[in-house]
Symmetry: C2
Subunit: 300 residues, 2 copies
Amino acid sequence: MSKSNNVYKDAYNRCLRLLDESKSLPSEPELGTLLGVSRTTVRSILSRMAETGLIAWDKRNKTVLRAPRPEDFFPEEETDSLAEIIERSFMRRLLAEGAEAGMQINELELAREIGVGTTSVREFLIRFSRFGLIEKRRNSHWVLKGFTRAFALELTEIREMFELRSAAAFAALPEDSAVWADLDRLEIEHRRLASEIATRFTAFSELDERFHRLIHRASHNRFIVDFYDVIAMIFHYHYQWNKAEERQRNEVAVQEHLAYIAALKSRDPGKVDAACRRHLKSARQTLLSSIPEGRQAQPA
Amino acid sequence: MSKSNNVYKDAYNRCLRLLDESKSLPSEPELGTLLGVSRTTVRSILSRMAETGLIAWDKRNKTVLRAPRPEDFFPEEETDSLAEIIERSFMRRLLAEGAEAGMQINELELAREIGVGTTSVREFLIRFSRFGLIEKRRNSHWVLKGFTRAFALELTEIREMFELRSAAAFAALPEDSAVWADLDRLEIEHRRLASEIATRFTAFSELDERFHRLIHRASHNRFIVDFYDVIAMIFHYHYQWNKAEERQRNEVAVQEHLAYIAALKSRDPGKVDAACRRHLKSARQTLLSSIPEGRQAQPA
DNA sequence: AAAATGTTTTTTCCCGATAAAAGACATTAC
DNA sequence: GTAATGTCTTTTATCGGGAAAAAACATTTT
């Protein structure tokens, strides 16, 4: 089984959701764009939908026959790409106790444990190396550098440098730039979240990422934009790992974002700088507080 | 032929050079450390050297019998790792005419052209992607972003941010830090190069890299240190590509480095900042001037 | 003739296998 | 008893192959 058909299964599930909303499906190329897959995959999906009696398919006519039932969907776990599976497995180990800095990482062992080929693990590790948590010894194993305090400090140092610069660039953008409308939309979402914070505080993390990515994009610098991948990855797993005082933390962050947004809209460089610094400082604090003091790098 | 033995061949060649200098060779583990390879490889080397009559090998005694001759060496091209071969091939294409932004990169085609497996090409592209010159479309091809003016500007923007910060950190290092001795050594090398600039100006590029890496290390930030890999790669190929006014450029740069070194030694933040800015500005100019105006990004 | 569908070709993703290289264990020499 | 050598095991680097997915080409429909 050289390659799983998760792309097909995931697109199939998403296509089922489209079925709910309309009586018939659009053309094959249109569906392809909508689902982000090729026509080949679209046709596989349509074939199966016809087989299972969800639609009647005759050339251009794709009539919906019935609403999808829960059992029509492929199981969630079959829709993940190998890369996602490996990443989750790897992060679980990394954040678990006993993952000390200096530890060796064994490709073969990882592959066996996760139940995948070595090639996929190798490719994952190469991609993952840019996060600064692992390092390759030439012709030999990878070394874990550990999710330490030092790491968090180095990460936030760059983040602060980049975000302050991006925020300044953002505020200097012309009135007619499309970002101001994006910012308005985000502001509305923030206000809604603020009013429903008691029940929806877990939705913050996704909103947080969209907000900061919008700001970073204003830098028009690919290295700054790409670096947000590192931050997003760390915060994603960090949120999963450390749920302590989540609600309280997110409530504060939403208010900081709103102040930050107001500052951006004022287009006053001084105010932007101050609001940005205030938020970054508490973000840093949050990250640091979740790393036990003892988690220090071991001497090499 | 699943794996070439370039590690062995390269270590063998380097070991031949050691032969010139002494009557006998050290122990196997010692040789291993010296050459940066495992004992397994050391023993392969010793076996061949015994076979070809270069040494007499009996357990601990490894007596040199004769000086190595040119034909004892493996050809240079057999000592390169696959990754190096692929990188060179790829960069040649990238810097050649006709490599426009937006162009697709085909793994299979690249692999066939270079004569290697697809796995190696894939791994190379993943590693290379952090340089910001290519981008992956999920489940599909890579896209060339091109060595454009925009790229050079984004690269130098980050470089300047990072180096100014590193230089400031460097100047603030305590008197007894080992870096001051390193800086003194580099200063001497710079002075020597300055006096022999007419004949040795091509040696500058290697010295330049060592100097800037020393400064970046003072940041104690892995992201800053790692980013120098991007800069070094670009400048490496840029120097190879654009030899125009090389001597003149390097002569200026050496003088700027000497002023920069003096500023660092003065430990005066203002002077350091000024000297650093002066040098970075001319480095940026050099890079930009080598990119033809016409080389602009194509609209996506 | 523009845009869809039908068909074929190419490319990507991933596995298992194999030689090179590293690493671990056992034995010998000093 | 420490540090070397000798031997055996494990891991890494790389290839070729095959299914999934994309892309290209040919044909039909509106």
